[in-house]
């Protein structure tokens, strides 16, 4: 039987030491292979023997996500009797979700509750006498997922989804009315109008996706690593941030990284500032081990704060630091602006090879306590792109929701493509309908007779 490929986090959603992502289906090897890298580069998973385990990294595009062990089990010798890959990641809900997200972007879809077991049963892996238990499991897991899903969706996200849906269904209804009754309803000049609507829809869906990221950051905080040469003013910065009393300070000891994290809150955003011995002493950076360790922290970080002492010229250490943090989101703090300046911003841009997309430069003086407002705003601007940042409860946190919004986004993108290719009107409504259905899944609404109802209530048909 032809099926699709499913994936899910197979371990409990808690910050345990190890977490497992399970992928099952005909494209499982492909989907995992796309994001798996060994030290020798990519390696097609099909070429591995069944029931072997491999060491490597998970990458999402250019971003290195985690260091993992990956188990390959080929059909039919797996739990589901399908090709199965299990990725053992380092624990932490956030990291697991990121890895799962990468898998989903590479050809798998999120598994329904109980679906692995269902497949195991349907493929004859589970004893027939357990059928009843399997059915119970599916129903109860679903029940739970539904309740959890609805309780995670509140207020204006659901309003926003409803609002986007109502725009989409109106446009479909218009197109369909014109198709059904061309002599009463004309589509002249409509494509121009729809192009504009499509742009707005894409923008709004992107905002929703951004809030999904926001939601994660809000819950987990922004993992921040401060780097810089000695005496750049890093400690002063930390003290300043804490001492200003605009933040709550807690010590969270003993995460998997064996480091101390300072958690502070700025304008409602949590910053988990990693204070690492490895980077604190720049002389260590030149040592291979130090650089490796620093790289790993930088790799995990959402944000790098790179403190530059602007009274001292840039040197080889700066070059190494920049090399290490390239491609990450970086805020460069031009510190000690109260002293005479020995570095220009241009020199710094040159160091980043002119790539300004991911970093901003803030001028501060920790002595005079200036530039802190700009610093906070820069963080906000970099991370909270969603439309709802002022409201605490409105964020997308559920993976299923995110996946559905992404599907809707893709469908609307297809509409855009059809428009650009000058396809006739009837083609647009097909993908518009898919987007409508995807968004409906989030708020638990089926499509049913929505379209027909919309057509008859909004457009006057003939006869």
């Amino acid at each position: 039987m032809k099926t699709d490929t499913i994936a899910a986090i197979a371990t409990a959603l808690s910050d345990s030491g190890i977490g497992i992502i399970r992928i099952s289906g005909p494209d499982a090897l492909q989907a995992a292979g796309n994001i798996f890298q060994t030290k020798n580069g990519k390696h097609p998973l099909m070429e591995y023997e069944s029931h072997t385990i491999h060491y490597g990294y998970i990458v999402d595009g250019d971003e290195l996500l985690d260091e993992v062990m990956i188990s390959v089990m080929k059909a039919p010798r797996s739990y589901t009797k399908e090709d199965t890959v299990e990725i053992s990641c380092h624990g932490g809900v956030l990291l697991l979700q990121k890895v799962l997200d990468a898998v989903l972007k590479n050809g798998a879809r999120l598994a329904e509750p109980g679906e692995f077991t269902k497949r195991a049963f349907l493929n004859g892996r589970i004893d027939l006498s357990k059928a009843e238990a399997v059915m119970d499991l599916i129903q109860s897991k679903n029940d739970f997922a539904l309740k959890a899903s609805i309780s995670q969706l509140k207020g204006s996200v659901s309003d926003e989804i409803k609002s986007i849906r109502s725009i989409i269904i109106y446009e479909i209804a218009f197109i369909e009315s014109a198709l059904d009754d061309p002599e009463h309803i004309s589509t002249e000049g409509y494509t121009q109008k729809l192009s504009e609507i499509v742009e707005k829809l894409l923008w709004r869906l992107q905002k929703l996706l951004d809030t999904a990221e926001d939601g994660r950051l809000r819950r987990e905080g922004i993992n921040t690593v401060i780097v810089g040469k000695p005496n750049a003013g890093k400690s002063s910065l930390l003290n300043l941030l804490i001492g200003e009393e605009r933040a709550i300070v807690t010590d969270v000891a003993g995460t998997t990284r064996d480091t101390l994290e300072e958690s502070i809150r700025l304008k409602g955003i949590g910053l988990n500032i990693v204070d690492t011995a490895g980077i604190r002493n720049t002389e260590d950076v030149v040592e291979k081990i130090g650089v490796e360790k620093a790289k790993r922290f930088a790799g995990d970080a959402d944000l790098i704060v790179y403190v530059v002492d602007s009274s001292v010229p840039l040197d080889e250490s700066d070059r190494q630091i920049v090399e290490m943090i390239k491609g990450k989101k970086v805020i460069v703090l031009f510190n000690k602006t109260d002293l005479e300046t020995a570095v220009t911003e241009e020199e710094l841009y040159d160091l980043f090879e002119g790539d300004r997309s991911n970093f901003s430069v803030i001028r501060t003086s920790t002595v005079e306590r200036t530039g802190m407002e700009d610093f906070e705003e820069a963080i906000q601007g970099m991370f909270l792109k969603g439309a709802f940042r002022m409201d605490d409860e409105v964020v997308i946190t559920n993976m299923r929701h995110k996946e559905a919004i992404r599907d809707a986004y893709r469908s609307i993108l297809m509409v855009k493509e059809s428009l650009e290719q000058d396809m006739p009107e009837d083609f647009y409504s097909i993908d518009l309908m898919s987007a409508y259905a995807s968004l409906g899944a989030i708020i638990g609404e089926e499509v049913g007779e929505d379209l027909v109802n919309e057509i008859f209530s909004k457009f006057c048909m003939g006869k």
């Binding site: 329904e112 129903q139 679903n142 029940d143 059904d180 000058d422 009107e425 083609f427 409504s429 006869k463």
Partner: protein, 639 residues
């Protein structure tokens, strides 16, 4: 003639000779079964009591599908149309749709002649009053399954049968309303059928009341057409039927006319709403939203200052004109006043008043997708009786019910046309699976795989089914197979014909404002460009053999919309998987653990034939479907 003396034995009886009944009876007779077609009036066979057209958006698709299966509607309208148009030609090929104005009297007369000359078919003018059945199922059940054995007509005569097809249209307990004037008749003052309802109820069939309406007919001589816009037919007419010679339909056509209502019209309607039977609450039936009465339009779309009115001829040998867009059940005096406010109709004379009609019909969820009743073996039904509306919807169900009744008599497996095979499949699935609260009309938006379900490929989709049932000749089938192979060969040839970046090719592209080639490509790739048609590519395609127009059309669509078509084919594959998982009729849902109560009740009530159908029943969740799949797998392995 004395009652009870006649006792005939035939194979199939069809009750009602409207568009569903005609197709059903013809299908059975053509399959070689002795068939009797009952009608309350032989003069009203294939009557068109409402609009004078066949086809239109998505309905045109149905006519083509009926034709592909071996039905008569397409052939009959090709013989009797007086104007024809392909709608939506500026849009994609999937929504092109034919619509023809019929000469109503000719349409009816011509269809009657076909029926009269059909071997194995007898027409009988009589009212069917009672169905005769016997128990055939487990009598311990609450409502044991029954089997049809015959029927009784008003005179008392009995027909013993193997199958009955109910196509009673709007005649069951019909009631016509024109303002305060109410008559207990069928359409056009014809005799209603008042007895059958009780017989059906005694068999446990539940009935409900639906309503529809029609506008007035005007005397042509009283209309000033100079105040209206003329609407012409297409210059080159395309026939409905795949077997009609295209040259035979290039006839002189009649015109239709367009005019508009205005504020004055709307003011009269608003002032008299209390005299409308609907707004006064006299009509109980549910009316269709897609053909609202003019009073509905004025109330619901109050912001529109005018509505279109199409004046259409009812035929060549009559002065009656149909007033499209202004159906109404207002009293006669209000009708006249409102019609006379419309430009060109200031002095109009009404020949027949607009009226609304109410009738008994069923909730078709009592049927299998074969259109056979779940609880009464051998009893089928089609058309408005099933809660649909429209001539084309009726004909489509009629031919399916006819084929299946025929197969039943022959002891063969019945057929189901699914949602990926035809609009007919969508129509039937919607009727037998979903809750419908108004007469159901076909719409292109209801067909989720519509890029595949085009009017131009109905023959490629369905002819084989008609052939296997015996309604399509070997010769016709061979012709189709030839066409199919010509299409495939040509697509393949275009994909394989390499076009290099040679100067003459670049020049050709430059002349057509098409991007120049960087590397070699093939003809199919070039055809995907909007600016390059099959015809245009002739110049750089010297190996081309002349092909029939219908082949070229398919080749062009297959190649130009390839990406979209392939996506839909993949969706269809997914869909088919669930349709193929059959649910045995013997399933006891009480034995399925973990089903939610609502799902259990719905499944028990509607008894879907496949997991796919079950998934479309409202109240059955995806988790219930998973549970059902697991259960069926378990039962399959154990049993």
């Amino acid at each position: 003639m004395k009652a009870n003396q006649i006792r005939e034995k035939v194979d199939v009886c069809v009750v009602g000779a409207g568009h569903a009944g005609c197709e059903a009876a013809l299908a059975c007779a053509r399959m070689g079964l002795e068939t009797v077609l009952f009608t309350v009036s032989v003069d009203s066979i294939a009557l068109m009591p409402c609009n004078p057209n066949i086809g239109g958006s998505s309905k045109g698709h149905l006519v083509r599908e009926v034709d592909a299966l071996g039905g008569e509607m397409g052939k009959n309208i090709d013989k009797t149309f007086i104007q024809s148009k392909m709608l939506n030609v500026s849009k994609g090929p999937a929504v092109h749709s034919l619509r023809a104005q019929a000469d109503k009297a000719e349409y009816s007369r011509s269809m009657r002649q076909v029926l009269e000359n059909q071997e194995h078919l007898v027409i009988k003018q009589a009212e069917v009053c009672e169905l005769i059945t016997e128990e055939c199922g487990d009598s311990a059940e609450e409502l044991p399954k029954r089997k049809i054995t015959g029927l009784r007509i008003f005179t008392g005569a009995v027909y013993e049968v193997q199958a009955v097809i109910l196509c009673t249209g709007t005649y069951l307990k019909a009631r016509c309303l024109c303002g305060e004037a109410i008559t207990h008749t069928g359409p056009n003052g014809l005799q209603a059928a008042n007895y059958l309802t009780e017989s059906l109820q005694r068999l446990g069939i539940s009935l409900r009341r639906f309503k529809t309406g029609t506008p007035a007919r005007m005397d042509k001589r009283s209309i000033d057409f100079s105040k209206m816009e003329e609407q012409l037919g297409d210059e080159r007419v395309i026939p409905f039927s795949f077997s009609t010679d295209p040259e035979s339909v290039q006839i002189e056509q009649d015109s239709c006319w367009l005019t508009y209502t205005n504020e004055e019209t709307h003011a009269i309607i608003r002032a008299n709403l209390d005299r409308s039977p609907i707004y006064a609450g006299i009509i109980e039936g549910t009316g269709p939203r897609y053909c609202p009465s003019i009073e509905d339009k004025v109330v619901k779309f109050a912001d529109k200052d005018r509505h279109q009115v199409f004046i259409e001829p009812e035929g060549r040998h009559t002065n009656e004109m149909y007033v499209g867009g202004m159906s109404s059940s207002l009293p006669e005096d209000v009708q006249l006043a409102m019609y006379r406010t419309v430009p060109g109709m200031e002095h109009c004379r009404i020949v027949r008043n607009a009226y609304a009609i109410e009738y008994d019909c069923i909730d078709a969820r009592q049927l299998f997708p074969t259109l056979e009743f779940k609880n009464i073996e051998g009893l089928f039904s089609a058309g408005q009786f099933n809660g649909s509306s429209g001539y084309e919807e009726a004909a489509a169900q009629g031919i399916l019910a006819g084929i299946n009744a025929g197969l039943k008599c022959q002891g063969k497996d019945q057929i189901v046309i699914d949602r990926s095979e035809g609009y007919l499949g969508v129509l039937v699935d919607d009727l037998v699976t979903k809750e419908n609260t108004e007469p159901y009309r076909m719409m292109t938006s209801r067909a989720e795989y519509r890029l595949l379900l085009r009017q131009d490929n109905a023959d490629l989709r369905l002819r084989k089914i008609g052939y296997e049932a015996g309604l399509i000749s070997k010769e016709q089938m061979d012709k189709l197979l030839e066409k199919k192979s010509a299409i495939e060969k040509e697509v393949e040839r275009l994909q394989k014909t390499v076009i290099g970046a040679a100067p003459q090719n670049q020049k050709f592209l430059e002349e057509r404002n098409s991007a120049l080639l960087k590397t070699g490509t093939n003809l199919a790739e070039l055809m995907c460009r909007p600016e390059l048609s099959y015809e245009a590519l002739k110049e750089i395609d010297p190996d081309r053999n002349p092909l029939p127009e219908e082949v070229i059309q398919q080749v062009e669509i297959e190649i130009k919309y390839k990406g979209y078509i392939e996506r839909q084919r993949r969706q269809v594959d997914q869909y088919k998987k669930m349709e193929r998982k059959k649910i045995p009729d013997t399933i006891n849902y009480d034995d399925v653990p973990s089903l939610r109560l609502e799902a259990r009740q719905k499944l028990k009530q509607f008894r879907p034939i496949s997991v796919g159908q079950a998934s479309r029943i409202s109240g059955v969740s995806p988790a219930d479907i998973s549970v059902l799949l697991v259960y069926l797998e378990h039962a399959g392995k154990n049993g």
